[in-house]
Amino acid sequence: MKTKSYDDVSLFISMVAGKNKWKLNKDSEHLEMITEGLMKNYNRYGYFSCPCRDADGVRENDKDIICPCDYCVPDQKEYGHCYCGLYLTEVFFNSGMEPGSIPERRKG
């Protein structure tokens, strides 16, 4: 498996955000932590498992939490950002508020 570099993951995140018209967390340190987390998960599991959830390590079992996860849009609708505080709605981004932990929508 070819590993991903930090820059590869940054590009991936930017492309996902751009394609969906989402904003990225403006806190560069937070963004860096998540980028590093995604990189670690990709390089050990082979897919971009959400860095804020513990992965099973089997793609089929983790398919709902592969970034951007299945819960991203519902969480954005309710809280303005995804579970990790990575992808923000434009409204939340412009509010100047800082993303915090939100309740886990995933069951099990």
């Binding site: 998540i34 513990d54 505080g85």
Partner: protein
């Protein structure tokens, strides 16, 4: 979970026994640990994701059964009674600084 080796960080302030189950990849976990560190609060932590598959599932199962909470990270346990899941600075301030 008696066989888990926690990393202990000694601070000046003792706010009770604080144990944090965290993920090495999680930004909110890192922020929670940093909050405790920067406020010189003693705590112990472990990165759950760095255990093998069976062990980490055992840890999550036991936490869920013992504390009757769905698992999220960081999973902080204070004095074996109070559980704080996730990190928001306001909540940690209320619990460990103002409280």
């Amino acid at each position: 979970m008696d066989d888990i080796v926690f990393i202990k960080e000694e601070g000046i302030k003792k706010k009770g026994e604080i144990i944090v189950y965290a993920l090495s990849t999680c930004a909110f976990c890192k922020k929670a640990l940093r909050f405790l560190r920067e406020n010189s609060i003693s705590f112990s932590y472990v990165y759950v994701d760095e255990f093998d598959h069976d062990k980490k599932n055992q840890i999550k199962h036991e936490l869920k059964e013992k504390y009757k909470k769905d698992i999220g990270f960081p999973f902080l346990i204070l004095d074996d009674t109070t559980v704080i899941i996730g990190f928001t600075e306001d909540e940690y301030k209320k619990k460990f600084i103002d409280g």
